[in-house]
């Protein structure tokens, strides 16, 4: 996740028309007195201003996330490949939102997110950087030496993501809350890799190291 150089003033320049699924959603609703304009752009309620991430509701940064990774995760959530485990608390909140998305609204959301301003995430985790560096070597194979990500390997950037979110995800992979669905190919790979981490100290150390990149 490379910080975007673009300034915030280019935000929301695009005017966006949602006629297509406005009609499709409204048709399902009753003839109601109070009809709100409907769209699927709910993202920033949870994910914060410009999708910067919000620790208050444990919703991660979306700004700067790669379009291909966003699409894969939204599609996984929609299909119940991610966010279906009863102990994946945050995933369970995301899943029903994604389940409502059409292909068109996923495309729209990805483009919308692409216009958001990126500001660097605040570090909230500290750990042993040297230990973290050693642990990170196996991560670097896929996620890159600078945690910049690698689309060819299906590995997203880690640099710039909220550290508390990455901690939660490592815990979820380790506990089998994520990466266990048979169709979650990349998640399964990640789950195998996390088995080299033994406990909270390792998790903190490796995340602290990613913060330092």
């Amino acid at each position: 996740m490379n910080p975007r150089a673009e300034a915030s003033d280019r935000l929301m320049k695009r005017t966006w028309i949602l006629t297509t699924f406005l009609i499709s959603i409204a048709a399902g609703a009753v003839a109601a007195a109070e009809q709100e304009p409907l769209d699927d752009r709910y993202c920033v309620t949870c994910h914060g201003t410009d999708g910067r991430g919000n620790e208050g509701v444990q919703a991660p940064r979306l700004a700067g996330m790669e379009p291909w990774y966003l699409r894969r995760q939204l599609e996984n959530y929609r299909a119940g490949i991610r966010g279906a485990h009863p102990d994946d608390i945050e995933g369970l909140a995301m899943q029903p939102m994604a389940a409502k998305l059409t292909d068109e609204s996923i495309q729209d959301i990805i483009e919308w997110i692409g216009n958001w301003n990126y500001v660097p995430a605040e570090d909230t985790i500290s750990g042993d950087l040297e230990a973290g560096r050693a642990l990170y070597q196996s991560c670097a194979t896929c996620h890159g030496a600078d945690a910049e990500g690698n689309e060819a390997l299906g590995a997203p950037a880690l640099a710039g993501q909220n550290d508390w979110y990455m901690v939660t995800q490592l815990r979820n992979f380790l506990a089998g809350y994520r990466g266990v669905h048979p169709q979650d190919v990349y998640g399964a790979q990640m789950r195998v890799m996390t088995t080299s981490l033994s406990g909270e100290n390792d998790i903190n150390d490796v995340i602290a190291y990613i913060n330092s990149l």
């Binding site: 109601a32 109070e34 994910h47 201003t49 910067r52 208050g56 509701v57």
Partner: protein, 524 residues
């Protein structure tokens, strides 16, 4: 009971049963409160051209706009959603329930009595600030029935799951409790601190409390209702339910206290829905509300507060001398801001509530055929309660609360809409056979997922009903105080008693009084 209860044990028992409640009652009788319901004790100085930006059109935000507006401030409210009121939310025909991932439109019939208070639903008669604003804003009130002993108590573990009337449960339980107390009085040497006369008075009350017979034994009571007749012919007493059977359910712990404290009589509600209060405020300050304006940034400066918000696809700026912020703390942390680290830490510390409610429209008022008019049925299943409406007595249809998770609502929140409805139908069937076919048009409100709120009443302490730690107190005071003298967090989240409108209003008044004091102290 094979041995007499010692006096110490007995007094401990009394203290455990009545001590805390007695202390609260004594406290509220000290005359510290205003003489009658009054909206405010505010005495604010004139605005003199000052401006306030109010973030969130919840009850506290509207109160600030109303009160400051009265004394000439220039107020603007930014509200992220299409409606004001926050968790004061009445669902009726056509209402949008904007749950993220589960958007619903309410399909209740379009009649005034067919509504559901999905958030705040009760006004205790001691909540004078709420009642005062109702009076001032011309909001018509009616009595709300909370405890109704004709309602049911149902637990699969008790009597094979057969529901019993609340009055049977509580009458028998009181009888057995009174028998124990009477035994303690008579078998124990009750010298000091009681005189013989006092002991006799106390024993008399115990006998009446439990409807004991002349031998101080409980053998059933007409208080539990008649098995038959009771008017033209002598009534026949209902069979007693064995103490041991009543103890099979833990619902008694809720039941025996349901009519006490803040949920005790008299409670009130606005006629037509709790949002009549919001309507009342909007009649005064509706023109100050900017809807669908989602806050993106809060910058607290030395001479004012700058707020950026997104509306109609563009980012806009507004500046004011002061800012009052009733947006839930867990959403504020997601904005761009220039708050200091300890302030952010306190914002993050408040846990967001998980309360959940559901309702059905009933095709007929089947509960009235069972002598039930208002009140609550208690169930030991995840739906927990059924509330029967006071509104629309003897009309054809009614709206009932079908489920209420008042602490920890994630059980239903995590379900799909279809699963939630099925859960409530299954649970209600245990009390009302045929329930499934008697109700229609379900709505569910999972506050944890409601757009622009993402939580019900926040809580500070990490221990349920526990005391506040010194750390809790310190963080609370930090958030209650104005940041840089300019930015006030308000709402029931900045109170010691969240989830009540009274706390919300008093929080807003506290902030305005604090600001007023600061302004008066400022050098001219």
């Amino acid at each position: 009971m094979t041995r007499p209860v010692s006096r110490r044990e007995f007094l401990n028992l009394l203290a455990a049963a009545g001590g805390a409640g007695a202390a609260v009652k004594a406290g509220s009788a000290l005359g510290l409160l205003p003489d009658s319901a009054s909206a405010s004790t505010l005495d604010l100085t004139a605005g003199n051209g000052r401006s306030a930006i109010i973030l969130g059109g919840g009850l506290s935000g509207l109160t600030v706009a109303y009160e400051l507006g009265k004394v000439g401030w220039d107020c603007t409210i930014l509200e992220a959603s299409h409606r004001c009121g926050g968790r004061i939310f009445t669902v009726r025909h056509g209402t949008l329930i904007d749950e993220i991932g589960n958007r619903q439109y309410c399909e209740f019939d379009d009649e005034p009595h067919l509504y559901f208070n999905a958030g705040a639903a009760r006004i205790p008669s001691t909540h004078r600030t709420v009642l005062g604003y109702c009076k001032e804003l011309d909001v018509e009130l009616e009595v709300f029935v909370n405890e109704n002993k004709t309602c049911w108590v149902q637990d699969n573990a008790m009597l094979g799951g057969r529901p019993v009337r609340n009055v049977e449960y509580t009458t028998h339980m009181r009888g057995f409790m009174a028998e124990l107390m009477a035994k303690a009085m008579t078998e124990t040497e009750m010298d000091a601190p009681f005189t013989d006369g006092e002991a006799e008075t106390l024993l008399g009350m115990i006998r009446r409390f439990g409807d004991l017979n002349e031998d101080d034994v409980y053998r059933g009571s007409f208080n539990a209702g008649y098995a038959s007749d009771g008017f033209i012919e002598h009534g026949v007493q209902k069979d007693i339910i064995a103490f041991r059977d009543l103890l099979k359910t833990r619902l008694g712990m809720g039941l025996m206290g349901a009519n006490e404290g803040e949920t005790g009589p008299i409670l009130m509600q606005p006629r037509g829905g709790m949002d009549r209060i919001i309507d009342g405020f909007l009649r005064q300050v509706g023109d100050r509300v900017n809807y669908r304006a989602m806050v993106a940034s809060i910058q607290v400066r030395d001479d004012g507060v700058e707020v950026a918000y997104d509306q109609d696809g563009s980012r806009r700026q507004v500046r004011a001398d002061y800012c009052f912020n009733c947006i839930p703390s867990h959403l504020v942390t997601g904005f761009e801001h220039n708050f200091p680290a300890d302030y952010v830490r306190s914002l993050k510390y408040i846990r967001r509530g998980e309360a959940y409610k559901a309702a059905f429209q009933a095709k007929e008022r089947f509960w009235e055929k069972q002598d039930i008019y208002g009140g609550i049925t208690w169930m030991n299943n995840p739906s927990r309660q059924i509330w029967y409406p006071v509104a629309g007595i003897h009309k054809r249809k009614g709206v009932i609360l079908a489920g209420y998770d008042f602490s920890g609502g994630m059980y239903h929140t995590r379900m799909t809409q279809e699963q939630r409805i099925e859960a409530h139908l299954t649970d209600g069937e245990k009390v009302h056979p045929g329930y499934r076919n008697l109700v229609e048009k379900p709505v569910t409100v999972a506050w944890h997922r409601m757009n622009h709120m993402l939580g019900c009443a926040g809580y500070w302490t990490r221990i349920l009903d526990g005391a506040w730690s010194a750390e809790d107190e310190a963080m609370f005071r930090l958030l209650q105080a104005p940041l840089n003298g300019r930015h006030y967090m308000i709402g029931d989240q900045i109170s010691k008693h969240a989830a009540w409108m009274e706390s919300t209003l008093q929080s807003a008044q506290w902030a305005m009084n604090d600001l007023d004091r600061r302004l008066r102290d400022m050098p001219a």
